[in-house]
Amino acid sequence: MNDEQFAHRVERTARAFPYPPTPDIAFAPKARQPARRPLRRFAWAAVIVVAVFFGMLAIEPVRAAVLEVLRIGGVEVWIGGAPPTPLPLPTNLLDLAGATTLEAARAAVDFRCACRQTSPAGLCLRAAWAGADGHHGVDRPRRP
């Protein structure tokens, strides 16, 4: 049997196929929808896109991101950790800068201020110090 004979045999055999009885087709017509035009479809698509855009703007983080990208908004508020506590300014207990007289130094402090005999004349006060014997003094005598 060649191809043509086989095709004829298929054709003859197929025609004898015992289909089930064809049922009645109920038809309840609905009003036909007019064909949608492309412009109307585009308009619908645009409306959907705009609605989605504004819907997303209702979400605060999204809105902030969009405003940041668009550089809209005059004030930027940064929410973060507390800034470091500033160090206290040094208290100027003694204004010992520069040269002064022994009387002025005694007037400026509320402790006993002694002057050793070994101190040279024209002493330059640099810092207050407390000795191991509980006496306070001004400047250590310099060793030669």
Partner: protein, 187 residues
């Protein structure tokens, strides 16, 4: 006949559309049955086909034949139905219960009908595009041009697809359908 009826139906004449349904319900139902293998499903598809066609009738070109257009709608609906999850699981159950290549039972009254059912079962083993060409060309007796219109392909493609489908079908028959094999013809 088609052009006048379609023109009336396009103007909203329901009686004209009922005449169209009456003229074409048989091939539409039969194609759906061949694809689905179930009369109830095929009836649903036929029903849906004419509802869809009524809705799209404004866009139909009256210069073209109506039958291929209706059959194309029916074939698409039947394919979608077959692909659906429900049909998939039903098929899985059927495959589990039956041997491969078998199709739903059909009542036959003579040897020729036995052979045609066996042929249908063999065709069901082909891939869907090949099945459709065989159904349209041989079971529903459409011309090459009508088949091309129904499948939305070129007539040349119909011929080449038909040729390949017949070759594959011949191999399947020789392998698994001895009733249809060359030496068992009842002519």
């Amino acid at each position: 006949m088609d052009g006048a009826l379609v023109a009336r139906a396009q103007n909203g004449d329901e009686a004209a559309y009922r005449a169209i349904i009456e003229a074409y319900r048989e091939p539409v139902f039969r194609l759906a049955f061949l694809i689905l293998g179930d009369a109830d499903d095929a009836q649903d598809v036929a029903q849906e086909t004419f509802i869809r066609a009524w809705g799209a009738l404004d866009r139909f070109d009256r210069a073209r034949p109506l039958r291929p257009w209706l059959l194309r709608i029916a074939a698409n609906l039947a394919r979608n139905r077959r692909r659906s999850a429900g049909r998939y699981w039903a098929m899985v159950r059927r495959v589990a219960q039956q041997s491969p290549g078998r199709a739903p039972m059909l009542e036959t009254q003579n040897v020729q009908q036995d052979e045609s059912v066996a042929l249908w079962r063999a065709v069901r083993r082909l891939k869907p595009p090949a099945q459709q060409v065989i159904y349209l060309r041989y079971f529903l007796d459409l011309s090459v041009e009508e088949t091309a219109a129904a499948l939305d392909i070129q007539p040349g493609t119909v011929k080449s697809r038909q040729h390949r489908a017949l070759q594959q079908l011949r191999q399947i028959i020789a392998q698994d359908f001895p009733l249809l094999s060359e030496g068992r013809s009842h002519e």
